[in-house]
Every structure is written in structure tokens, then in C-alpha cells.
Symmetry: C2
């Protein structure tokens, strides 16, 4: 499995990926899923990859080759970031087809999905999610991030925190917390965690860190975040019966009074539509 | 879809469920998934249900009927909570089989899963997850909670907060936050949110609340939690480059220095096992 996040704020981009690969739970290894491309000084691209490792390696290899061999279509020749996304999607489709032919009938899933982002001078910084089908979407003001792989565990914190106005470094910390939550819950997502923070119009990729399981900064973030959550719980408002019990304790010592009792019937009876044997709860 | 949580702490039990049912995204309705049984003063049980609504209604109906009709096996006759779990699992299996026969060949998923918990006087309070297959598991000191339905979005916060020592009311608030995170992320999970807090050996189910979307307490919890998370982010440790840039800004005005550059090669080359065409990232 994999978990990768790409975030686009007003100030730039954040890319974050785990490094665990597995062929079954007994075949874990560690590979970087973050691939940086700077074919010229006027452009920078980052690709995060998920899916079959053989396929994603073939895709990345092909993209590097097209640059090195001066192919007419490559991340070096594209005029706009959107053109680059079309190119990456096309390479992904083609390499997935080749992998499918090579393993035909073996029943192995050779699909791959990709997060692609970056900036070309004169254009805006952008991120794209290239589905395994080969089509792709970009982000939006309402959803300034894109995910691939095991995306559910880490999504709520991104939903709650990220906006276009979020500072780049806060967005990067949010990605790390989201990644940490996912690593706790899915054994096939694991460190090292790679984080790239790209400041718009800088064409500079210096703000990169790789955090292994024992990394001091990662441990500090986890500790600080756990403390925040635990303290936050103590600050949450009390249930009615707690308030009354507190009042009672300080005055009459009365027991918490009975609150509303549990309804025996469904909250709201609504007939199931004809031909629908049962709603899916 | 559904999301239900059962928590077992040293002090008692917490049950939390959403109320949205759907047969397709255009067929949403609202049903309680929390079912309380107090067939005698020496016992209390709560069932949270997920899956096909017709099947879960049949299961609950059958369990009520066995009590009302004085059946030799029911939640009234079982001597131990574990015996009750065996009975509930058996009813679930039988009703799922009947539903399968009734809808045979229609391709409709008639399966159901259940969270069952409670206490019988003289015994300890317990919770069980009854799988749709009919087998069941209980909780553990390491994992004091069980979930059914859309469990991933809300799991990290449970993992981080819940222990056997967590107070019952804090555990209930944790369940509400977990539920809120899930409701934000999955449109087929929705309010009202029902919460039952059972204090061990009390055989009293007074601490129950039903929170609809506009409920003041739910709004207060959401606001407080959002503030906690946002404040928590400002408290997270800074990246090296932020510290240096701060120092730079206050002294030489220097730019953040370059940190380690991105590796061109995989972090750690490990050969894929023979016969494994590609690891699954």
C-alpha cells in the first residue's frame, strides 16, 4: 500500500509520501515514492506514485528517458503544467498497458496512480491526480489537496486544517500528522516519510526532509500533537449530566438526573422505495 | 453506509451510532441503529447494527420477540454476556440466511454486522463485534473499542485517545469527534448521532443523548475541537529551515539555507522476490 498527499496553497506546494512497499504482509521493503524533475531552471515537477512498483518504476524511468534523450514530448518540452499532466497521464496509460500485456492472465494488478505537480515559469503552480485509468483531476479552492493510496485515515485532519491561506510549513506539518495517523492504522504504510515544500515562483526544492521512524523532528511532532489532542479533550464541553452532577456534588450531592430515554422506535419512519428490498445502512 | 462505535473502559461502556440509511445516493433516510434491551433489572444490553436494513430490522425484531414470547433462548435467559453474544450471532446468521433465500439471485447484499455489548449482574461489562459471517470478537486492553461500517476516517482519533483508563464521558466525546470526522468525509454517514454511556454495575441507561445536525452541544464540541486542532498546529515544532530563517531574519536577514537534497535513487534497494512481478506500493 501507499499514502501520498499533494497540497496546493496560495504560497506554493507541499508533497508528502511514505516509503513502504509490500508484496504481501511478509514482503515489506522501502522505496522512495517521491520523484523530482528539474530538467531546466524555468521549471520544477514532483511526482508521487502509488500502485504496482514495477509499473511505477517503468513510468518514472520513461519520463526521465524522454528528458535525457531530448524526446519531442517530455517535461522539458511542455509549455504549460497542464500539458505536462497530459504527458504524464499518457505515459502512465502506455506503461500500464505494457505491464498488463507482460503479466497477462497472471491476475496481478499492474495499475498505478500518480500525484503530479509543479510550476513552469510564467504559469501558476498546480497539482494533479492522475487516475490509473489515465484521466486526471486538479485541486480546487474547496479541496486544496489530493491523495492517492490509503487516503481515508488521514483525510479528516486535512479536511479540518487545510485552506488556500494555510502557510506552506503548516500545510507540511498537517501532511506529516495525516501521514502519522495513517501509519498507525495501516501496517503497509510506513516511514521514512518524505516531505517537499515548494515555494511558488522560487524554482527551488531546498525545503525537503526525509523522516525515518526514529527521527527527532518526527518524534517531537508526534509528541506535541498527542499532547494537543489529549489537552483538547479536557477542554471539550461537558454533557448535561456532568454539569448537573458537578452542581449536585458541590451543593446537594445529588445523583446525575435521568436524561431523555432511548426511543424504542426508529427516529423517523420512512418507507423503503418499491423495488428496494432494504436500505444499505 | 453506517458508522458505529462501541468502547469498553474500566468504568463502563460507550455506544455511538449515526442514523443515515441509503439505497443509493438518491435514497437517503434516517433510522436509529441503536437498540436497547433491558429484559430484567439484572441485565442491560445495547446492539448497534450495520448492513442491509431489512436484515437488521429482522434481527432486532427476532431478538425482541424471543424475549417477549419467553423463548428458551433469549437475552432474558442467557446466564453470561458471552452466552448472549453467541445467541445474537446465531440470530444474525439465521436472519441473514432467510434474507438471502428471500432475495436469492437478485444480487442484493443482505449481509449485516453488529456491535453487541452490556452487562449481566455478577459478570463484567463487555462488548463484541459480530461479523456478517456470524463469528465474533471482543475488545482487548490494547484496543478498547470496536467499530462497524465506515470505520477508517474516525479510527485515528480513537487510536490516539482511548485507553481502559479513559473516563466514560471523555470516551463518549471521543466517539462523537470520531463520528463527526466520518460524517464530514462520507455523505452516507449522517446525524442524528446517538450516544449511550453505561456506567458499570449501574444497570442504568439514563446517560443517553441524540444529537441532530443543529444540536447546540454537537456544535459546541465541533467548534471547540476545531479550535484545539488549529491552535495545536501553531504549537507544533518548526522545520529546521524555519528556525534558521527566523534567526536569519533577526540577525543577518539571510535566506533559509539549502537542506539535504532529494535522493535520485530509491532510499533502499531491495530486490523483489522471485515470482513477484512487482511490489504493491
Amino acid at each position: 500500500m501507499t499514502y501520498c498527499i499533494a497540497i496546493s496553497t496560495n504560497n506554493g506546494l507541499v508533497f508528502c509520501s511514505d516509503s513502504r512497499t509490500n508484496a504481501g504482509p511478509d514482503m515489506l521493503s522501502s522505496y522512495s515514492k517521491m520523484h523530482l524533475f528539474q530538467p531546466a531552471t524555468d521549471r520544477v515537477f514532483c511526482i508521487l506514485s502509488a500502485g504496482n512498483l514495477a509499473t511505477t518504476q517503468a513510468i518514472i524511468e520513461r519520463i526521465r528517458q524522454d528528458i535525457d534523450e531530448g524526446s519531442p514530448r517530455s517535461l522539458l518540452t511542455c509549455q504549460k503544467i497542464n500539458e505536462g499532466a497530459h504527458y504524464v497521464a499518457e505515459v502512465s496509460r502506455e506503461e500500464q498497458n505494457l505491464a498488463q500485456q507482460a503479466t497477462g492472465g497472471s491476475g496481478i494488478d499492474t495499475s498505478a496512480s500518480i500525484l503530479f505537480g509543479g510550476q513552469i515559469q510564467g504559469g501558476k503552480h498546480r497539482i494533479y491526480l492522475v487516475y490509473s485509468a489515465g484521466n486526471f483531476i486538479s485541486d480546487s479552492d474547496e479541496t486544496p489537496f489530493l491523495q492517492i493510496g490509503e487516503s481515508k485515515y488521514g483525510k479528516p485532519i486535512l479536511d479540518r486544517i487545510l485552506h488556500r491561506e494555510t502557510s506552506l510549513d503548516d500545510a507540511a506539518r498537517c501532511a506529516i500528522v495525516s501521514m502519522d495517523s495513517t501509519i498507525r492504522s495501516n501496517a503497509t504504510v510506513g516511514p521514512p516519510i518524505e516531505v517537499l515544500v515548494y515555494e511558488a515562483d522560487s524554482f527551488n526544492t531546498a525545503h525537503y526532509v526525509r523522516l525515518d521512524a526514529e527521527d527527532t523532528y518526527l518524534r517531537d511532532i508526534k509528541r506535541s500533537w498527542d499532547e494537543t489532542l489529549k489537552a483538547g479533550f479536557l477542554a471539550l464541553p461537558l454533557f448535561e449530566w456532568e454539569k448537573r452532577s458537578q452542581i449536585g456534588a458541590t451543593t446537594t450531592g445529588a445523583q446525575p438526573p435521568q436524561t431523555e430515554s432511548l426511543p424504542a422506535e426508529p427516529l423517523q419512519q420512512q418507507p423503503v422505495a418499491p423495488g428496494v428490498p432494504g436500505n444499505d445502512q
